[in-house]
């Protein structure tokens, strides 16, 4: 089984990029692969806990929690989230803050790397 590392810049809810990333992560995890996600820039907003679910709307917090239980490793970029006034204790449970070193250490050993930039 392989390791997939995904880097993403996109803000949540502003596009379907996150829906794609989380669906891809779910499919990979269910096939037994490891999945690691690096949140850079506005992507860090997705890590805030207490996202209110609305009927028939995306709710990424619940999806992320479900995927963490399946083994997803998802981290926030320290400088990016602090710049945005988001602190690690506000993150969804199980999500740590990391520096860019984490990203490069992990892509060095990954089998596949996918990076999704801003639209």
């Amino acid at each position: 089984m392989g390791t997939l590392v995904i880097g993403i810049l996109t803000r949540p809810y502003g596009s379907t990029n996150w829906a794609f990333v989380l669906n891809l992560a779910k499919a990979a995890l269910e096939k037994g692969h490891k999945v690691k996600i690096w949140c850079s820039g506005d992507a860090n907003f997705i890590l805030k806990k207490n996202q209110k679910p609305f009927a028939k709307k995306f709710n990424y917090e619940s999806q992320i929690k479900e995927l963490i239980e399946k083994g997803l490793e998802i981290v926030g970029c320290e400088s990016c989230h602090l710049m945005r006034g988001i602190h690690e204790e506000e993150f969804i449970e199980g999500v740590p803050s990391r520096t860019m070193t984490w990203f490069f250490e992990n892509i060095a050993t990954a089998d596949r790397v996918l990076f999704i930039g801003e639209e």
Partner: protein, 132 residues
């Protein structure tokens, strides 16, 4: 020690945070010390991203914050290779003399101007392509 090529494509212009993030990732790659891998980072500015390469940006005067030009200078000083797409520079009427450099930091290597065909070849050769 294996060298892995990281190619960072920057399409956004300097009005956004994204070019800075791209260059930050390039400098981050160059600063990471791993046991058996080192990264060689190139930032390629394409589309309206080539506007980031212009010298004389007045970000500090207008907005009171560091602009992308300063970050490009720091990247050049950190051995990050900076490339700008020739066709896109031409599209915006930007000549090579209008591109920034880091000579005041003692760095002679400036921004390389490459045709899209060459950049495309580098995309194919890179170990990692990161889109910003």
């Amino acid at each position: 020690m294996a060298t892995k090529k990281v190619l960072i494509l920057v399409r956004s212009n300097m009005k956004e945070e994204v070019p800075n993030l791209g260059i930050d990732h390039a400098m981050g790659a160059m600063a990471v010390f791993l046991e058996d891998v080192e990264f060689q980072a190139t930032v390629a500015f394409i589309n309206s991203g080539v506007l980031n390469c212009m010298k004389g940006q007045k970000f500090l005067d207008v907005y009171g914050v560091e602009g992308v030009e300063n970050v490009i200078k720091l990247a050049l000083a950190s051995d990050v290779r900076i490339v700008a797409c020739k066709e896109d520079l031409e599209k915006y009427g930007i000549s090579e003399e209008m591109l920034t450099d880091a000579k005041e930091l003692g760095v002679e290597t400036g921004i390389e101007v490459l045709p899209w065909e060459k950049i495309n070849e580098e995309i194919k050769e890179a170990d990692y392509v990161l889109f910003f």
